[in-house]
């Protein structure tokens, strides 16, 4: 059995403002970079291809295409080093870990988006406002007012990663 003291130590480290997102979602991580004395925010935007569990040790992997080169970055989910995580689109994926994206290039590497998820449960979440904004800005997104009926997923193709 896992000692409760470890759980206690780990629970103290948890961030309270963890954004709700899943694999397949396109997110923007506002990572804080320290340069000498100064601190600035460096966003990293891409598809979440993996989320690992484990209290304060939980991580997620974001993949993006940068100048035609795939770049993956692993972030600790409870790291104090990021300012916030913005959910740009909700992905409609069938797998928990999207490693197959590594073998795909161009149009094939896009992830289906799930519009109703973006406006549904995410509306209550703190990250909802920027997420909805981003959806509205996307050219293919439908009218935000109409909630998609069940069984009929409002699927639209949007670029999974920022095209370099």
């Amino acid at each position: 059995m896992r000692p409760s003291a470890l759980d206690y130590i780990e629970s103290k480290q948890l961030r309270k403002d963890v954004t709700d997102f899943r694999t397949g979602d396109t997110v923007r991580v506002h990572w804080k970079v320290r340069e000498g004395e100064k601190e600035r925010v460096q966003p990293f935007e891409g598809v979440v291809i993996r989320k690992t569990k484990g209290a304060n040790r939980a991580t997620f992997t974001v993949r993006k295409m940068s100048y035609g080169v795939g770049v993956e970055r692993i972030f600790p989910l409870h790291s104090p080093r990021y300012e916030r995580i913005e959910v740009l689109t909700r992905g409609d994926v069938r797998h928990n870990r999207l490693f197959y994206l590594r073998d795909l290039r161009g149009k094939a590497s896009r992830v289906d988006t799930q519009e109703e998820l973006l406006e549904g449960p995410a509306a209550g979440a703190p990250g909802a406002a920027p997420a909805a904004e981003a959806a509205g800005a996307a050219p293919e997104s439908p009218a935000p007012a109409a909630p998609a009926p069940k069984g009929k997923k409002g699927k639209t193709k949007t670029a999974a990663a920022t095209q370099g």
Partner: protein, 220 residues
């Protein structure tokens, strides 16, 4: 030198001030109390005996029972003397609890424990020998020790030659581990890196010997 007896709880990771994820070993020091003292007048040296963990009455010898009764403390399962100067020892009384507040964040400590038993092991695991090439015609000699001596002179193998044998279950001290955090409330000590022994094993934590030696040299 002051110190305490603790129990290794296990390892995890925590974020430090800079947001770096640091591997830590959690040591529980609750129930660590002073059960006796050695004084220069009576014992010709100065030390404090610390006890840790609850001992069952029936497991004690009558001599131990008497000693605990005389000291007026609860029977403890683990006992260990910590040599310290008479000044340091005089500040501690029998019955006092010794908590993790003894240490502070950022301090370097030495942690002593009994390593995990590994059974009968060959020279590669036990003594970090290199072994032989896995290919290029090596025949049944991949993990062997190689030559263990000379010829007719001396005609014997030197004592303490590193050979296969039992490995583990020995006392090992890991020096200069940084104290990452001190939780005085729950009596937990977070030490950076690994500590000898298995989880639930008994460990002894003392301030770093090297740091204090360096301080002594600086004074001179």
């Amino acid at each position: 030198m002051k110190g305490l007896i603790g129990k290794k709880i296990g390892m995890t990771q925590v974020f430090d001030e800079d947001g770096n994820l640091v591997p830590v070993t959690v040591i529980d020091a609750s129930s660590c109390t002073v059960v006796g003292k050695r004084t220069p007048e009576r014992d010709e040296y100065s030390a404090v005996t610390l006890g840790f963990g609850q001992a069952k009455e029936k497991r004690l010898t009558s001599a131990q029972k008497g000693a605990f009764k005389k000291a007026g403390v609860e029977p403890r399962r683990v006992l260990r003397e910590f040599r310290m100067s008479p000044d340091e020892a005089s500040a501690m009384n029998v019955g006092d609890t010794v908590g993790v507040a003894l240490f502070e964040k950022g301090q370097l400590v030495d942690v002593t424990g009994i390593t995990k038993g590994r059974g009968f092991q060959g020279v590669m695991k036990r003594w970090n020998f290199r072994g032989f090439g896995q290919t290029h015609g090596t025949h049944e000699y991949r993990r062997h020790p190689g030559a263990i001596g000379q010829r007719k002179t001396p005609g014997r193998v030197y004592p303490n030659k590193k050979m296969p044998g039992h490995y583990g279950v020995e006392q090992v001290t890991t020096q200069n581990l940084t104290v990452v955090d001190v939780d005085a409330e729950k009596n937990l000590l977070l030490v950076k890196g690994a500590v000898p022994g298995h989880s639930d094993g008994i460990v002894f934590v003392r301030p770093s010997v090297k740091v204090s030696l360096r301080a002594q040299h600086a004074k001179k």
